[in-house]
Amino acid sequence: MGIHPFIRTSLLTLTWIPVLYEFHDHAYQPCEIRGASMAPTLNPATDSMKKDIVLVQKFNVRKPGYLKRGDVVMLRSPSDPEKLLAKRVIGVQGDTIIPRDPKYPKEKALIPRNHLWVEGDNQFHSIDSNNFGPVSQGLVVGKVTNVIWPILRFGSDVLKGGRMLSAFLPISSES
């Protein structure tokens, strides 16, 4: 072939870029967390220069019923579609949630079909469902499975943390 081997190799490398991109979109993607809304689970350091990198699972996450209470998810912000948020799922469809923020317009929030109630673990520094209400599961981009950086906290349990049981109404008190 008449092409210079260097050009040939670089062109062949370029053809793998779509495959990598698809892997990022539909399998797993590392993602850097900015902001303190999920402290102390993610970004526990008060020093804002230190940022966690997490592994985000991209497949299955929009399947109805796949996400459980306590999962940490990445979702598109309802108020700014270009922004990604990392929050914890507090309530799934059919749950009745007592909002953490007393300024929320209702005393109890019933989560509609295929919607989620999401909250940051850091009560005082988080814009979440207490501000914008339940979010559609279609806005979820991925599920955080692991902390991969800093190396000392590799594999620390992201499922622990957040308020859980106190958020629910006992079913008997519904009627």
């Binding site: 053809t15 793998w16 779509p18 495959v19 991109y21 698809e22 979109d25 929009r62 399947k63 109805p64 598109r76 912000s77 309802p78 108020s79 700014d80 579609p81 270009e82 509609p112 079909r113 295929n114 919607h115 914008f132 979010v135 559609s136 599961q137 279609g138 806005l139």
Partner: protein, 188 residues
């Protein structure tokens, strides 16, 4: 034997790369899909209509009043809806005056629904969408505003694949291919 193995692996890797590139193009540039349902009559047929969705407008980028969009259904992420934008962030919307129309409702229902007095303001990052066929459309009037993050693309053309290449008078119209334009005009 070794030669065939090499040929097979090369074939597989090229197939993988081409399929990925094609799928990437369908997700981020343009997509050609079928739409079903009566909600967009008479703009789109209830069946056999294929639309060309411009995916560069995903996440509500560069959209305005009167654009037709494809979006994920908020109450069911497995399904897509095709609606027209009839309210942008900050607009004041009268939700559904037809719920208090005396043509289809009894007087008591009209009073209870109070359709002429229910207004909402579309919040930031959301749009109000309605189908063109208002009497047979599940849209913002039932699930309220739609987050722009659910928008997958803007519909810019449609073709009816059951129509054939020529119309009744024998004129060439290529499956009734038509461009769908923004139909909103601001009152002077």
């Amino acid at each position: 034997m070794h030669r065939y193995l090499k040929l097979a692996s090369g074939l597989f890797s090229w197939t993988l790369r081409i399929v990925c590139a094609g799928h990437l193009g369908a997700q981020y540039l343009c997509e050609f899909t079928e739409t079903r349902g009566e909600s967009m009559l008479p703009t789109l047929q209830a069946r056999h209509d294929f639309v060309y969705a411009n995916r560069t407008h995903r996440l509500g980028r560069g959209l305005d009043m009167g654009d037709i969009v494809v979006a994920v259904k908020p109450s069911d992420p497995d399904h897509n809806v095709c609606k027209r934008i009839s309210g942008m962030p900050g607009d004041v919307i009268l939700v559904d005056p037809s719920s208090s129309s005396t043509v289809s409702n009894s007087v008591s229902t009209c009073e209870r629904n109070d359709g002429f007095n229910k207004f909402v303001v579309v919040p930031e990052g959301h749009v109000w969408v309605t189908g063109d066929n208002l009497s047979h459309s599940l849209d913002s009037r039932s699930y309220m505003w739609l987050p722009m993050g659910l928008i997958k693309g803007k519909v810019s053309a449609a073709a009816s694949l059951d129509q054939g290449l020529f119309d009744k008078d024998g004129k060439f119209w290529f499956f009734n291919l038509r461009w769908l334009k923004r139909n909103f005009e601001d009152e002077p």
